[in-house]
């Protein structure tokens, strides 16, 4: 009997507290499905500010890990179930989903707000989030990749890292500083198209490799791929972190912060998480190159609106507020300038307060994003867009499988040639489907 009483009380509590979803009593509730990152955590903190000026819009934010979010959002838009009114999507999804009509064209909404200043969005990011000249998502956070290094550790070996290093210079430095207590460099080895393959893809690009030629013929059996993958894995084995097969962003961040690695090639945002000696003694260089210059990747978590949303105006009101110039000011003044989302608006990099807070890596971030070209990721022409991904539906699966083959090489289970032969076969099947 008492259990029933408890249950009834809980049901009553849940019903009274969970009135979400609909529009009632003049209040519209919108649901945002978001990836969890520090910028999103800040947005959550500032939602009361939005609601203070928009009392008729309630915002519910559901945060999920990246892979779960991607699966859930895909399911939602594919089935048109309308569970979400906004979601964070990456540069990979935007053109694909815009083409399918899964997400709303935001340009008409943007046109209604003269203060939005779409021209202020960093051009590379704006291009990556556009389809047929229209913006289908608005950037909330953007990043490229760069090399981070401990100036003190390199200086102890008499090494000075140039602003635009080559991969050969990085490898030489890594081997020079590599010792029992400190590894030369941390590179992601964890399988996954958004994990190990992200930095490795940029190495392949700068070596002149490409996934497909303009006729969608797979190109993974070329010398450029062989050289790039061999270089990456050899560098990991000779001067990389131990247990590289399990190392992703977080593991490398831990290793770098605890002084266990002297260099780290990863997302530009990484530098904002440095603590202790890592924060004091780090230098920043552009993504290392081989043949092609400017090899940094390009990624932006952005707010997109599913076509199935029934509360588009309210959803846009929130998306506008969260990606407007005024929001950047709000974050800076209320939470601190180091909290400002990087890589979205050019004007952010003109703010003296932000420049002072972001310090040495602000300019590297801005220039890296500005020079990343999703339509020309490598030396030769390609039929796809994307620097560290190929913007086709099949890529998530292809990328995951190919990276698993490379992980086997890292673990010593097969050779680079064997991995590339399997990867070529996988890519060939995908290429045929594009005709």
């Amino acid at each position: 009997m008492s259990i029933f009483a408890v249950l009834i009380a809980l049901v009553a509590g849940a019903c009274s507290g969970g009135a979400g979803g609909g529009t009632g009593g003049g209040t519209t509730t919108i649901t945002l499905a978001a990836v969890d990152n520090p910028s999103m955590a800040d947005l959550k903190k500032l939602v009361p500010d939005f609601q203070a000026t928009h009392p008729n819009i309630q915002v519910k934010i559901v945060t999920l890990p990246e892979d779960v979010l991607r699966q859930q959002v895909t399911q939602d838009v594919a089935a048109g179930s309308g569970r979400y009114d906004l979601f964070t999507i990456g540069t990979y999804e935007v053109p694909l989903w815009a083409k399918k009509g899964w997400i709303e064209n935001l340009s008409p909404f943007i046109a209604k707000d003269p203060s939005y200043a779409p021209d202020d969005l960093i051009p590379g990011i704006r291009g990556a989030l556009s389809y047929n000249g229209n913006l289908f998502a608005v950037p909330f956070y953007g990043e490229s990749s760069m090399l981070m290094y401990r100036k003190d550790m390199l200086a102890a070996k008499g090494i000075t890292m140039p602003d635009h290093p080559t991969w050969d210079q990085v490898a030489a430095a890594a081997k020079a500083v590599n010792s029992r207590s400190v590894n030369g460099i941390c590179l992601r080895g964890l399988p996954g198209w958004g994990e190990q393959l992200a930095p490795l893809d940029t190495v392949v690009n700068t070596y002149g490799g490409r996934w497909f030629d303009p006729q969608w013929n797979a190109q993974l059996n070329t010398p450029q791929w062989h050289d790039a993958v061999s270089f990456y894995i050899n560098l990991l084995k000779t001067a990389g972190e131990p247990g590289a097969g399990n190392a992703g962003f977080t593991e490398c961040l831990n290793a770098y912060n605890s002084g266990k690695v002297a260099m780290w090639y990863d997302a530009t945002v990484a530098a904002s998480f440095f603590t202790g000696d890592a924060a004091k003694n780090s230098g920043y260089a552009y993504a290392p190159i081989k043949v092609k210059d400017w090899s940094g990747w390009l990624w932006a978590w952005s707010l997109g609106m599913p076509s199935s949303s029934k509360k588009k105006d309210a959803a846009w009101t929130f998306a506008d507020w969260a990606t407007n110039k005024a929001y950047i000011q709000l974050v800076g003044t209320k939470l601190g300038w180091q909290h400002v989302s990087p890589g979205t608006r050019t004007s952010t990099y003109d703010l003296p307060e932000y420049k002072a807070a972001a310090g040495a890596f602000a300019d590297v971030t801005l220039q890296s994003i500005a020079h990343a070209d999703v339509t020309h990721p490598t030396v030769d022409p390609v039929p796809y867009i994307g620097v560290q991904y190929v913007d086709i539906d099949e890529f998530q699966q292809l990328g995951d499988k190919v990276s698993q083959e490379f992980a086997k090489v890292i673990a010593g289970g097969q050779t680079v040639d064997q991995a590339l032969a399997k990867a070529q076969a996988l890519a060939t099947d995908v290429g045929k489907a594009q005709h």
Binding site: L10, D36, N37, P38, K60, L64, P65, A79, N254, A267
Partner: protein
């Protein structure tokens, strides 16, 4: 005389040895939970440090951060889905188990096999039809729909477990009760429930744990209103930045209700789980 002394001397040694092995096994199983607890009292850099930080000044900072989020609705939802589905399993499962154990129907074995065969289907295989059904019936993001799904998942297990407990009751007790004029509900109330109470407690707790920890259906069928504790937990897994301590704090809080429930029902649970072990 000397032989008995020898036996007495050997006995404590083997007892100690088995105790040590027992505690070692317990420690191995318990270590991940212990580590989770320890991590939750560290700062993020301490939790992420390598080698691991063993000695540290405990802090409640991460608990504060977790609790400052919208924690309660997720827990209330978990409680509704878990308790609701467990009650439904008992209400539906006990009569079914009674029929299969005390008054076997024709082809009882086939019926039992049918029940358990519903568990053979991988969860992922049932996702699309269930999802489309829930979408069309406007049951997405509805906690009661989730409770119903958990009931269907746990019911076969509940029927099997309850049946095995009911088989322990000597048939003579039912015969005697019937001679005294007891009907079905009297049998259930006066004989079945008191005698298999530990079994019912064990079944309830198992169903409760499964429902409380369930993630797959919860993530697919809920969004903002009906999210459960596991959904709250994974929200702390960040693609950029440190999150181990926060995640450990959230996981510690999420595991507390089940842990406390298990602790309270410990005696019943052990009795229930050992029922039928020795004939």
């Amino acid at each position: 005389m000397s032989a008995s002394v020898k036996v007495r001397r050997q006995f404590p040694t083997s007892k100690v040895m088995w105790s040590v092995i027992g505690w070692l096994v317990v420690f191995v199983f318990f270590f991940p939970v212990l580590w989770m607890w320890l991590e939750s009292f560290k700062t993020e850099p301490q939790a992420a440090s390598s080698p691991p930080t063993i000695f540290f000044a405990p802090t409640l900072e991460e608990f504060q951060q977790v609790l400052s989020g919208d924690f309660p609705p997720y827990f209330i939802n978990s409680a509704i889905a878990s308790i609701g589905s467990t009650l439904l399993v008992l209400v539906l499962g006990l009569p079914a188990a009674y029929a299969l154990a005390i008054r076997p129907v024709k082809r009882t074995r086939d019926v039992l096999f049918f029940f358990i065969s519903t568990r053979f289907l991988p969860f992922a295989a049932s996702l699309v039809p269930l999802y489309l059904l829930a979408r069309d019936l406007q049951l997405l993001d509805n906690i009661f729909a989730l409770a119903l799904i958990y009931t269907t998942i746990n019911l076969p297990l509940g029927v099997w477990l309850l049946r095995s407990f009911l088989l322990e009751i000597p048939p003579e007790l039912f015969e005697a009760a019937r001679v005294d004029g007891a009907g079905f509900f009297t049998e259930i109330r006066r004989i079945v429930v008191p005698l298999v109470a530990p079994g019912i407690a064990a079944t309830s707790l198992i169903c409760l744990i499964f429902s409380w920890n369930e993630f797959f259906y919860a993530v697919n069928f809920t969004s903002s209103v009906a999210g459960t504790a596991p959904i709250f937990l994974v929200g702390f897994i960040s693609g950029r930045g440190l999150f181990y301590a926060k995640l450990a704090a959230a996981a510690t809080l999420a595991s507390l209700p089940v842990l406390i429930g298990g602790w309270i029902a410990q005696k019943q649970l052990i009795r229930g789980l050992t029922m039928g072990a020795v004939k």
